[in-house]
């Protein structure tokens, strides 16, 4: 019995970009972090780049696959780290979806990687922070950290937006997505 799974070109692109994002994700997890919850978010550059080149659906696939497979490879799957990461990714993918739709709907107000980066970073931080606060450490002292973490997230969001723009500028025109 020989069954072949039909794959589209988009599937291959998603797999390739997810692999790239996972590699960066794992490399980044080896970096020491001064504060729990703070990471440069370099893997998010891949998500942003895919968003700008191929649209939201593929970006969502890449982001969520990265969290899932990344955690399995690092060994944090189903641990608190994984849930925090997943909450952040879901929030960020959701906000990116809204912004992307807004960008499409109002071309005069189109958002570029610089806007996407900041929004994604803030959403990611909020997602993981509120999960941490509600589920893991429901202590009001944690709330005092929230504005600070969000400020750092915004700064790192600008950085990832700039990186994304640089990467996009050096890439060739995207091939049209298969229908």
């Amino acid at each position: 019995m020989n069954q072949t799974l039909q794959t589209t070109r988009d599937d291959h692109l998603i797999a390739g970009f997810a692999a790239l994002a996972i590699t960066i994700h794992i490399a980044e997890s080896a970096l020491p972090s001064p504060l729990p919850g703070i990471k440069p978010g370099l893997a998010n550059v891949v998500t942003l780049m895919v968003l700008c080149r191929y649209g939201w659906q593929m970006a969502a696939w890449v982001a969520l696959l990265r969290v899932l497979v990344g955690s399995i490879l690092i060994g944090t799957f189903l641990s608190p780290t994984f849930f925090l990461s997943a909450a952040g990714a879901l929030a960020s993918v959701g906000v990116l979806g809204l912004l992307f739709a807004f960008s499409r709907g109002f071309p005069r107000w189109a958002v570029s990687p610089l806007g996407f980066g900041v929004a994604a970073a803030l959403a990611h931080m909020s997602g993981q922070f509120w999960l941490a606060y509600v589920v893991f450490v429901p202590h009001s002292g944690l709330l005092a950290l929230y504005p600070l973490l969000m400020t750092l997230a915004a700064v790192l969001g600008v950085v990832s937006g700039l990186l994304t723009r640089t990467v996009l500028g050096r890439l060739k025109k995207p091939l049209p997505s298969t229908p």
């Binding site: 109002f106 005069r108 996407f116 900041v118 929004a119 803030l122 504005p147 969000m150 640089t166």
Partner: protein, 124 residues
């Protein structure tokens, strides 16, 4: 390399983000447990409620005369009171929720209010 150029959409997103951050700082960094208001009682009745971030000087009338209360940058104190031992004045600046200074002879008291007071009770 492209210059540092923001599109109108980016400007909007950044503006919203900045508003959000400002809102977060005011919402979560409003001096916690650090009272933002104080209450002045004369003869056990509320005489005034003070915003501690509105600098002012008050002359509070009591049976012996006027007690001078000062509010500066989130703190309050008795500057002077017509009492013999000036315990209220020596209490000094009050800023933590629940802290209190009382001038018994002049029946004037000053207490910092807070939703989450630093002290449950204070004994003298």
């Amino acid at each position: 390399m492209m210059g540092f150029k923001l599109s109108r959409g980016d400007g909007l997103v950044w503006l919203l983000a900045a508003t959000l951050l400002a809102g977060l700082y005011t919402a979560f960094w409003q001096a916690d447990g650090h009272g933002a208001e104080a209450v002045v009682l004369v003869n056990g009745k509320r005489w005034a409620r003070l915003d501690l971030f509105h600098n002012q000087d008050l002359e509070v009338p009591g049976p012996l005369g006027h007690s001078h209360i000062q509010v500066r940058d989130g703190q309050a104190r008795f500057v002077d009171s017509p009492c013999p031992n000036k315990l209220c004045v020596h209490t000094g600046w009050l800023s933590q929720g629940g802290e209190v200074a009382i001038c018994l002879p002049n029946k004037v008291s000053l207490q910092i209010l807070a939703s989450d007071p630093r002290f449950d009770a204070i004994n003298f």
